[in-house]
Symmetry: C2
Subunit: 333 residues, 2 copies
Amino acid sequence: MIQTPYLLFLGDAPDQLAAKVAQGIKDWRPENAVGQFRLPGCGADMGLTDMTLEEGLAAGAKTLVIGVANRGGVISDEWKVVLVKALQMGYDLAAGLHNLLRNEDELQAAAKVNGGTLHDVRVPTVAYPIANGQKRTGKRALAIGTDCSCGKMYTAMSMDAEMVKRGMKSDFRATGQTGILITGKGVPLDAVIADFMAGAVEYLTPDNDADHWDHIEGQGSLFHVSYSGVTMALIHGGQPDALILCHEPTRTHMRGLPHYKLPTLEQLRDTALPIAQVANPDCQVAGVSVNTKALDDAEAKVCLQKIEDRMGLPATDPFRFGATKLVDALLEI
Amino acid sequence: MIQTPYLLFLGDAPDQLAAKVAQGIKDWRPENAVGQFRLPGCGADMGLTDMTLEEGLAAGAKTLVIGVANRGGVISDEWKVVLVKALQMGYDLAAGLHNLLRNEDELQAAAKVNGGTLHDVRVPTVAYPIANGQKRTGKRALAIGTDCSCGKMYTAMSMDAEMVKRGMKSDFRATGQTGILITGKGVPLDAVIADFMAGAVEYLTPDNDADHWDHIEGQGSLFHVSYSGVTMALIHGGQPDALILCHEPTRTHMRGLPHYKLPTLEQLRDTALPIAQVANPDCQVAGVSVNTKALDDAEAKVCLQKIEDRMGLPATDPFRFGATKLVDALLEI
């Protein structure tokens, strides 16, 4: 569990795209960020107050979160000066970088001296159990995709936000590093040892109140041969009551696999539902979440209507048009 | 790669069952074992020549293989005396124990001094790539099960042995510690990091001659919620041309999951085939392998006939009646 609130470190991010983690925090947990810290030449701006480390601390920040990807896989000397100083001032550090904070001697040493914690959210810190498959109390929705990176995290975030707005009991359950940094906790599922994947998902989504919903962040796709095993473990470990099908309608092939075509939403439904019903015989496909970013408003609406007609399921782009339809569909289950 | 031939360490195994690894080597690679080493009170016997470490070395043994499970998860002092002596004499050690050889200071030190290697086959030693899904040359058969531990390894071993007997090009590809110790190489798939599972299977079964068959050892089951993600990665990483359905007909529930019923062979076929065809559109279900150990000869034959009639597929118990039917079925693909 990462201590909140955060000061967001944007470093020398060349542009907004490089600051995906900071953007996610800004979009979904703005109350977790007291401000942003930028180095000279930074091309990203979250629209938060620019702060020095001292100002961040005075505003209550507990953790300096690396909200940007680093260039070339190296934590630069320029970054390290700031990170070491932050540790000396009493901050914890959190990052989802490929190269770990803990592998930097200066950071390791400064953390030790000052009692700070280095959170490398790509690395599991828990000895997860092997899944036992026992039915848990409470409700769970899982976003599954025709492909990787088609909006599963934003879909689950949107449904959680809509439920919170309605005063319902709800949690977003992060399974990737961006989600973990946004919410401060979760399971970095793609880094878990094979035998413990489903058990990690059970651990992430424990028994809960009968009217509580977990919105589980999906990973990969049953149709993406590189990562389908991770998706499978999410379905069986999560034992969802509801599946939300996620789709990006303009994509021409599976992400990173130019020789693989995307499945149809029908194929995804027909493959995923029987698999999900192994762990939860009552599981249903509740709706479709379409990432319409590449379409204009009129195109998006036509696309959604067509999918609703074809599938007989509510379809929306929850980030663009809100998650009302999807949450309504969950409540009908 | 573990150096062969082996001397098989049976230690103080209470009975034959405890020596599953040694039994597998005896059954499938007898040419890899020059003899067996037993401590006083050993209740297991592979029918091999009993040898001292010196006699084993004289017979050409390169590696002392721990062919038994240790009691209580501890490598006993009695074992260690023998293992240290073996390292001093120039043996390598290999084991698939939960507690690792490398974590024992005396073994680590003796290996260092004598230049010996400690093979802990539960631990991956390769940085496997992420799967790229590209079509590979050569043919692959994958054994998949209605449940865990229903004979998948023996099925793949039997088909490989039958092909070798016929002078065909064939390899057994181990994905678990027993298979790795038997054949000296493979991938300990259940210990691989989630993101690299399918890539590890691609690595294990590379491009090969057009008429070469890989017989890939299956793991878990698509219907076993604890391990289904591993099975999924095997199907998509292995891109099999042929699936062999494996089944134990007397089992009353999924192994370790008393509240989960076994799927039927039809359910396994209907679930697995479309999934396999994502990675290899030409994949077919070629036959059924039935573990009839719990049945007498007459019962076994009736059971197999019933399954052949029901499924329209060749069915046999390859360990009991030979793998002729299954290999014939592969050749018809």
